[in-house]
């Protein structure tokens, strides 16, 4: 790691594969040429940057070769030697190589590593400076004729990437540029009790400089792979076209690039700082702190009424199976957003408690934070807050309170075009008073089938259908659910339009001669002449398109219901910031506000009667420790606890509230839709109750 991060060039291509913006850094390019010249062996490397048209051609060419702009990422049968997918690594969807002047695919023409970041309709390509030997190493990788890298033995992409911080830096640059292009230059949301939210850096400055406040911020940008778009079409992606149609703000881009990396070496990628400096500049009255150095990430100091606000944002991801053989997985990814309106350059510190209860797994902090030695259950956090809203810390945890929505979803196809379903859900089970569920909606997406009609009434809430989904609003906003739990059921049947389009396409496929025996399958089906759900699924899945590597699995292959909700009042992981223990140095009196917001991420109820994706469970030692108390209490077989999914949730919740958890199971009973009960064998969920009950009995005896 001799050199840091320098960028040779940046290109932005639009959806028509034309270069709409570019920036080259001749100083860096000069260094590249010097490096090439210094090494005689590799002086034939691509020495000059391509023109716009050459680059666009090469990009298009790669797109044709690799199937998409990103490429396969994994070596497939149609991968060609020398292409990125030949390297057989998913990251080649992000770090790509282009052969300029495609006639001769030679290392001489290879432009690598190009950081590819797609945002909105634009493709951003960033070319960081690497050493020529790195390029040669990569060329060797993608030209090797053998079957692929042996892990740990061959020099692979991993050691190359470890050696290339410039690639990491270039990704940061690419993402920053992507945010600017699409206007996602918002700061993390911080909620205060008085107003719904507080703005960012501009607002911090309004007190001192007097610039009018801007519009309220929206949600913090989530990770790039949001499955919600596939799961619930139209609900979340509503703003996608707006982003796409936004014209490229070249001025903003130029300003950002010129200020953040005047010579191609990034210095600061914080766009709000950059744009504020551009807009405001500095006046002679802006004095630096008398005895301290002002950090580079805090060009302005706050002046005005002082206060600190913390907001815990938690997103629950859950895969609820309601099966004996597959344990449910529930995980919480949370972050503490902060806004410290404090004068000068104070240090703020507070102890983080309840780490063990929350099963905190990942703790990563804002660069401004310093972490004292991590204890088992406590961790002190000290930070010197930057201006505006920022994410102080991120974590992964388990749901200490138990799942806010628990239950099952069963869908059974009684005929090819008719499905009977049953929901049975518990909401806010074991959740106490400050916790308030603002809304809760369950969506059943059927992206591949057209819904004709829906029959059935839920015990609570309203139902609406669109062409490809059923939406059940259990709790609507304004009528929140506070401090009580409810149980809801929703039996019904849904009728679909006949499965036709796909069948046509499949027959046309067989006419290509790929499958001469397609008809034999149908024969078998006709012979049985009964509803064979397995068979139906197989038929439907036959022409499922492959998903992108950015998806967790092929969503369309499964039947599931997705729950979206919002809970406020407390975190579900159990993590909390005690306002009393927050200290500021040098001491000032500043009110400390604290809020929490829990939303659903991928909160999926898998159809208990169908296929579902799952994973091997992670064995967590601390989790077992946590359950120790419970084990001792009931002196039960350990294996039973680990295997049975419902018991796991029992054990975690019992750790805190034993009696209540037991009671929960005692009251549990399930009713079945008449249509479903007729298909008796697959319903395994019923076993679960018995097991719980028997366990409970063994516990009391």
């Amino acid at each position: 790691m001799s050199s840091g991060c320098s960028i040779r060039a940046i290109w932005i291509l639009n959806n028509l594969d034309a270069v709409v913006f570019s920036r080259k850094f001749p100083v860096v390019e000069k260094r590249w040429r010097a490096a090439c010249n210094a090494d005689n062996d590799i002086d034939q490397l691509f020495a000059s940057l391509p023109t716009h048209s050459d680059l666009a051609d090469a990009f298009l060419d790669r797109k044709h070769r690799e199937g998409s702009a990103r490429g396969f990422g994994i070596r497939k049968s149609n991968s060609t030697l020398g292409s990125d997918s030949w390297v057989d690594d998913p990251i080649t969807r992000h770090i790509v190589g282009l052969f300029i002047n495609k006639e001769e695919e030679d290392i001489k023409n290879l432009l690598w590593p190009l950081i590819l970041h797609t945002k909105g309709l634009y493709s951003i390509l960033v070319l960081p400076l690497v050493e020529p030997r790195h390029l040669v190493a990569y060329a060797r990788l993608c030209k090797r004729s053998d079957c692929g890298t042996a892990l740990g033995m061959d020099d692979g992409l991993s050691s190359l990437l470890l050696d290339l911080p410039s690639v990491t830096g270039a990704f940061m640059v690419a993402h920053a540029i992507g945010d600017i292009i699409t206007g996602d230059t918002v700061e993390p949301e911080v909620i205060v009790s008085a107003a719904p939210s507080v703005g960012g850096l501009f607002d911090s400055l309004t007190g001192s400089i007097g610039i009018s406040s801007r519009a309220k911020p929206v949600n913090p940008p989530v990770a790039s792979s949001s499955p919600s778009s596939t799961a619930v079409p139209g609900s979340v992606t509503a703003d996608a076209p707006k982003i796409g149609s936004r014209p490229l703000d070249k001025d903003a881009l130029r300003t950002f690039i010129s200020s953040s990396m005047p010579f191609g070496t990034p210095l600061d990628l914080n766009y709000s700082n950059i744009f504020t400096i551009k807009a405001n500049g500095f006046s002679a009255t802006d004095l630096p702190p008398p005895d301290q150095k002002q950090p580079a990430w805090k060009p302005y100091l706050y002046k005005g009424k002082q206060r600190i606000m913390f907001t815990i944002h938690e997103t629950i991801h859950a895969a609820l199976y309601d099966r004996d053989e597959i344990p449910d997985t529930i995980s919480v990814s949370g972050q503490i957003n902060c806004r410290a309106e404090l004068e000068g350059l104070p240090d703020v510190s507070f102890p983080l408690a309840g780490l063990n209860a929350a099963n905190l797994e990942v703790l990563s902090y804002h660069p401004c934070a310093q972490v004292s030695d991590q204890g088992l259950d406590k961790q002190g956090v000290m930070f010197s807050p930057p201006l505006g809203n920022f994410v102080l810390m991120r974590y992964q945890a388990t749901c200490a309170l138990g799942p806010p929505i628990n239950g099952f979803y069963q869908l059974s196809m009684v005929s090819e075009d008719k499905g009977a379903f049953l929901f049975k859900l518990h909401l806010m089970e074991g959740y106490k008073s400050p916790l308030n569920m603002e809304f809760c909606t369950v969506t059943m997406p059927f992206p591949r089938r057209r819904i004709l009609s829906l029959d059935g009434t839920p015990s609570v809430g309203t139902v609406s259908t669109s062409e490809h989904s059923v939406e059940w609003k259990i709790v609507t906003s304004g009528r929140g659910l506070t401090g009580r739990s409810i149980e809801v059921t929703f039996p019904g049947t849904v009728k679909f339009a006949p499965w036709q389009n796909q069948r046509l396409s499949s027959s046309s496929r067989s006419s290509f001669g790929i499958n001469a025996d397609e008809d034999s399958d149908n024969e078998a089906e006709n012979a049985s002449n009964m509803v064979n759900e397995e068979h139906l699924m197989e038929k439907m899945n036959k022409d499922l398109p492959p998903v992108d590597l950015e998806e967790p699995f092929c969503w369309q292959a499964y039947n599931y219901a997705k729950v979206s909700f919002k809970v406020v009042g407390a975190s579900v992981s159990g993590i909390a910031v005690d306002p009393k223990s927050v200290s500021i140095y040098p001491a000032v009196k500043a009110p400390i506000e604290f809020s929490t917001q829990v939303t659903s991420g991928d909160y999926i109820l898998w159809n208990t009667l169908g296929k579902c994706p799952h994973v091997a469970t992670i064995k967590r030692s601390n989790r077992e420790d946590n359950a120790d108390e419970f084990f001792n209490l009931i002196s039960a077989d350990e294996d039973l606890f680990i295997i049975h999914p419902s018991i796991r949730s029992l054990s975690t919740s019992l750790g805190t509230e034993k009696n209540k958890a037991v009671k929960k199971n005692e009251n549990t009973f399930y009713t079945f839709h008449p249509l479903i009960s007729s298909i008796s064998p697959p319903i395994k969920g019923s076993n679960k109750i018995d097991q719980n009950t028997s366990l409970f009995i063994s516990l009391t005896t």
Binding site: M1, G4, S22, R23, K24, P26, K30, H52, R75, P90, I91, C147, G148, T149, A150, L151, M153, L162, T168, G169, F171, M172, R254, S258, S259, F263, P266, L267, L269, N270, F282, S283, A284, T285, D286, K293, Q294, P295, A296, P299, S333, Q335, Y365, H366, S384, V391, Q396, A516, N541, L544, P546, L549, E550, P552, F553, C554, G601, V615, A616, S621
Partner: protein, 1100 residues
């Protein structure tokens, strides 16, 4: 618009739009159209300095100037003007010039200066001016309004310092104090500038005091170390270590001020400094290691870089770093790419600290993918698991500790996350990830870079291999759609030089475990791709597969019904395709038994005609063509090579033409290398004269008609329409004729006899077979085809050329009827060294016995039988036309040397009616001879009789001719020649001495032996019309001959049948020194040839 803007008047400044077009054109590489605007540079510079010019455009122009500086700054004057302009801008008050413009101008000017130095010699003064200007800018620490500009100026200076290391080493003291003083956010830039100068001082080992501020900052002069281009650096190698350490200590106080990117720059520079100054790495660690807990990927990477640089200092921290990296990958708030990067770092990092990694179940289970992890992440996490299995493997080899994890468990647990690949469509991403993981796990412990094959062999014993093999077998049995994917997987291994062996082993396992379990149904066809691979592989005995395919064929035959027509056809053809693959890959001896059985079954019973046909072809090939050649024919390699250029759409229409034209070239000199020769040479060598006369006879219509008239023409004419009536008319006349009982007996015998002779017009006539052999000379053949074969390896059969599917077509001007063509599936060329000998053979007529040594070469010869159905017993020439295929697909066509047909070829034994018992045949023949002898006599009373031929439609009449020939040969040689050539035609021998001689020879058997030779001769004499024959006889013997022929040894009676219905009768009166042959025939033209024949037979 661009065209309009292309040539504006020189004086007029460009509009905003024109400027933008200009920039765009430059970026697209089309400068030339703006060349008219020369000097563009002046225009640019003046535009930059104009006050009314919009700011955004000014900034754009600055960047443009920077990016294309090489096109504009062609002399140092340009640079000078630029720096002057910059000076003006920088010194202008803020309200006149926006600070962003100032900043960008500084940056662009610096960049231009640095880049232009590549092409131009930079005036040192220009350079100094710029540095001086920048130094004045930064020399105002903590000043309120221009703090950002100062930061930018620091960056400019840092870039200059990077370009000319040591440039600022003289003023480093001032820089340090500025650094200490600056308290605004620009301090990062000051710190970086100072660090960079320190870094260069240490890198170039400059002995500068960094506390010294005695050299004034302004006016600036480049220090000697820079102007001397580095020569002075060596002399003063004493670093001022103490001061430098102080500086370093100062610098390490401020990392928390920096942005992540700034930190990366800083650490990159500080690490070599710390190393040079022998700083304790723990100092760095204390200050910087905490950054690993940041969620900024850049900072994490910085820590990693530092860690890798000081591995020993961070000893014991691997766990923490690994854990941290893993946690980054699990942060779902992060962008996917950073999570992927984190795993890559972890992989690369673990590779470095390979020895220290101890995978435990605890650790490995944290690598398990989570359910909502994107597939890309799942794939990489599976890589991690594979890597752990490598570590476990290595550690187990080393220590044998058993607390390590079980790789199979890792593998299986990991795979759960993509387990849906088993039922999803085969092209699903899950499938791709799963098979990628198979591959990673499988080859995990065997690197491509090491050449030791044992590592691969070890893999075979590995549990992973066994697991995977079982998994794949089950996979193929359960979901047959995945077979192509498995095939691709095996192919991938097979194509790898290092792991092809592994692929083979997989196939072997499939052969052993998959084949017995495959269910016999129509869906088995899904498995055919893998069968094909198994068939291709020579290491796998084809037994199992052949058995399976045979059973499959039986299954298809049994299941065949009205609905399964297409299915039977397609699946049968595909099964045959596998057989074909086997034929191309295996030695035929390995396949022969089972494959021939399979093919035979198929061509007998398969319901579909095409499949039957194909299997017949394969069977024939398998039987006829030696292995190597067979493989060559069947492999499509050449075809593909020939076709490949045209398979591209672009060249579809210009298919290379030489190939087809070459294909149908007929070779004129073919006869010089391909020889068709008679097996038994003709006795009569002067064939040409005979055939010539024959040609004349047969070709000229009158002659032909004449011969017909004499012999058959009236018969035929009558036969077709008139004869039945005339026959009826004639029949009443017959009784009128005077006939004694003897004549009646003769007629009866002849009627009976002729009714056995087939009438060739209505039924297959009597055939004359001429056996020939076909051979060709490799050498000449190759030369003719233009093949360059290595002459050294001649002896090997594989090197010899071959011809395939040879068809010989025969035609003749002689009346031989239609001659069926003859096919030879395969023929090897003769080895080259035999050429001269065999050429000799072909030139001279060598007795059959000489062919002994050529029997060894039988494989180089093919027997050809020419079936003639003569209409007339004449010699002639059969023309031979050959059509064949060479190995390279060329079609060879041409005329070979004709085959001479002699009169002796026409000799057949007389037909014996079927009601004659075998032991009476000699008597019958003898009687027939006598009868015919009578009938052919000139005074015969049978001359007007007609005899019905077999079939009853045609009739024949006998019109005899007789002749006498005296042969001056001793009796012994005559007897020998007769025994050799005429033995089978002899029907009677008389005379005691002759009988004794024949008895001794033992060749002439089953004939009538008559002791009383005088009687016999007298009888014949009597029988053959006493007057004229004796008269003739006497006339002949009037001279010397009769005297010399004192002793008459005996007599041979020879009966020869000449197809279609004629006869040749010899009565040979053998004497001691000469023999008198009396000849009678009912086909007078043949007498002409007989004379020559007898001479050749006895006198040569």
């Amino acid at each position: 618009m661009a065209e309009k803007a292309a040539a504006p008047p020189r004086s007029k400044p460009l509009t905003t739009q024109e400027w933008e077009t200009l920039i765009e054109d430059f970026q697209n590489g089309v400068h030339h159209k703006w060349n008219s605007l020369d000097p563009l540079f002046d225009l640019l510079l003046s535009s930059l300095l104009r006050k009314d010019f919009p700011l955004f455009l000014k900034l754009q122009l600055l960047v443009f100037l920077d990016e294309f500086s090489l096109s504009f700054f062609t002399s140092h004057h340009h640079l000078l003007r630029l720096v002057d302009a910059l000076k003006a801008v920088v010194h202008a008050p803020l309200d006149v010039v926006a600070s962003t413009f100032k900043d960008q101008f500084m940056v662009s000017a610096t960049s231009i200066l640095i880049c232009a130095s590549e092409k131009n010699v930079i005036d040192p003064q220009t350079e100094n001016n710029l540095v001086e200007l920048l130094l004045t800018v930064i020399n105002r620490p903590n000043f309120g309004s221009d703090r950002h500009t100062r930061g930018v100026a620091c960056e400019c200076l840092r870039e200059l310092e990077r370009w000319r290391p040591g440039l600022l080493s003289d003023v480093v003291g001032h820089l340090w104090s500025l650094c200490q003083n600056e308290r605004t956010h620009a301090s990062q830039c000051y710190l970086l500038l100072f660090t960079s100068v320190i870094h260069n001082i240490i890198a170039r080992k400059l002995s500068v005091s960094i506390l010294n501020t005695s050299v004034p900052m302004v006016p600036f002069n480049a220090p000697n170390c820079v102007t001397d281009s580095g020569s002075g650096s060596g002399s003063s190698s004493d670093l001022n270590v103490k001061e430098l350490r102080r500086a370093l200590a100062f610098l390490l106080e401020w990392p928390q001020l920096m942005t992540p990117c700034g930190m990366m720059e800083f650490v990159c520079m500080i690490i070599p400094v710390a190393v040079a100054l022998e700083l304790q790495p723990s100092m760095l660690k204390v200050q910087l290691f905490g950054m690993i807990h940041s969620f900024d990927p850049v900072l994490c990477h910085v820590v990693l870089g530092m860690y890798l640089r000081f591995l020993e200092a961070f000893d014991g921290q691997e766990g923490e770093v690994s854990r941290r990296l893993l946690l980054i990958s699990r942060e779902s708030q992060n962008y996917l790419v950073f999570r992927l990067l984190a795993i890559h770092w972890l992989l690369g990092f673990n590779q470095l600290i390979f020895e220290k990694t101890k995978p435990t179940i605890e650790l490995c289970s944290t690598f398990y993918p989570a359910v909502f992890d994107p597939l890309a992440l799942k794939a990489l996490k599976l890589d991690l698991l594979a890597f752990s299995s490598v570590c476990a493997h290595v550690l187990r080899l080393k220590s044998g500790s058993d607390e390590l994890i079980d790789p199979v468990k890792l593998f299986e647990n990991g795979l759960v996350c993509v387990s849906s690949f088993k039922w999803l469509p085969p092209m699903s991403t899950e499938t791709a990830v799963a098979f990628r993981t198979f591959h990673k796990f499988l080859i995990a412990t065997s690197s491509h870079s090491d050449n030791d094959p044992s590592t691969t062999r070890n893999l075979l014993d590995s549990v992973i291999f066994r697991t995977l093999q079982g998994l794949l077998v089950n996979l193929m049995l359960e979901s047959r759609r995945l077979v192509p994917v498995v095939v691709a997987f095996v192919d991938r291994l097979l194509s790898c030089p290092k792991h092809s062996w592994l692929g083979e082993c997989l196939l072997q396992k499939f052969d052993a475990h998959l084949l017995p379990k495959v269910k016999m149904d129509y869906k088995m066809v899904y498995c055919f791709p893998i069968f094909d691979r198994i068939a291709e592989n020579q290491t796998i005995p084809p037994r199992g597969l052949l058995e399976l395919l045979t059973n499959f064929m039986i299954f298809l035959v049994e299941k065949h019904g009205p609905d399964t027509g297409m299915k039977s056809w397609s699946q049968g053809s595909r099964a045959l395709g596998i057989c074909r693959t086997m034929l191309t890959r295996h030695h035929s001896s390995r396949l022969f038994l089972r494959l021939s059985r399979l093919l035979a079954f198929t061509c007998l019973y398969f319901p579909d005609l095409e499949v039957r046909d194909n299997s017949r072809i394969y069977l024939r090939m398998l039987v006829c063509i030696p292995g190597k050649k067979l493989r060559d024919i069947l492999s499509l390699r050449d075809m593909i090579l020939g076709i490949s250029p045209s398979s591209h759409s672009t060249s579809f229409f210009n298919v290379q033409s030489p190939r087809p034209s070459q294909k149908f070239k007929s070779f004129k000199k073919l006869s010089s290398c391909i020889h068709l020769e008679r097996l038994g040479p003709l006795l009569v060598k002067q064939f040409w004269s005979l055939s010539l006369s024959n040609l004349v006879v047969s070709n000229t219509k009158p002659a032909y008609l004449e011969s017909i008239r004499d012999l058959k023409a009236p018969v035929e004419e009558k036969d077709t329409e008139i004869i039945p009536e005339t026959g009826r008319i004639n029949q009443p006349q017959e009784p009128l004729r005077v006939m004694d009982s003897k004549v009646a007996e003769i007629l009866n015998t002849l009627r009976k006899y002729f009714s056995c002779i087939p009438d060739f017009r209505y039924m297959p006539g009597l055939k004359v077979r001429i056996s020939c052999s076909l051979r060709f000379e490799s050498n000449t053949f190759n030369r003719m085809l233009g093949l360059d074969k290595n002459v050294s390896s001649l002896e090997e059969i594989d090197a010899l050329p071959a011809i395939y599917a040879t068809v010989l077509k025969f035609s003749s001007s002689a009346p031989y009827g239609s001659i069926p063509s003859y096919c030879i599936p395969f023929l090897l060329g003769e080895p080259y060294n035999k050429d001269p000998a065999s050429q000799n053979v072909s030139l001279s007529i060598v007795p059959v016995g000489v062919g002994n040594d050529s029997r060894e070469e039988e494989k180089y010869r093919a027997t050809v039988v020419i079936d003639l159905e003569p209409r007339e017993p004449t010699p002639g020439i059969v023309d031979v036309h050959i059509e064949s295929n060479a190995e390279n697909g060329q079609i060879i066509q041409g005329q070979l040397q004709g085959i001479t047909v002699g009169i002796e070829d026409m000799f057949l034994k007389a037909i014996v009616p079927s009601d004659i018992p075998e032991d009476e045949t000699p008597r019958y023949n003898f009687d027939l001879f006598n009868t015919l002898w009578e009938a052919c006599g000139s005074s015969s009373s049978t001359g007007r009789e007609t005899f019905q031929l077999k079939g009853g439609k045609g009739i024949a009449a006998i019109s005899g001719t007789q002749s006498v020939k005296l042969l001056d040969v001793p009796a012994t040689s005559l007897i020998q020649a007769t025994e050799r050539h005429l033995a089978r035609f002899v029907v009677g021998v008389s005379g005691e001495p002759l009988i004794d001689a024949v008895w001794q020879g033992g060749i002439i058997q089953n004939v009538i032996l008559e002791d009383a030779s005088p009687v016999a001769t007298s009888v014949t004499n009597h029988d053959t019309g006493p007057l004229r024959l004796t008269y003739n006889d006497e006339e002949c013997e009037n001279g010397t001959i009769s005297n010399s022929r004192k002793r008459n040894l005996g007599c041979f009676l020879v009966l020869i049948f000449l197809p279609p219905r004629f006869h040749l009768l010899f009565q040979m009166e053998v004497g001691d020194v000469s023999t008198l042959v009396r000849i009678r025939t009912d086909h007078w033209p043949s007498l002409a040839y007989i004379d020559d024949y007898l001479e050749a037979l006895y006198l040569s």
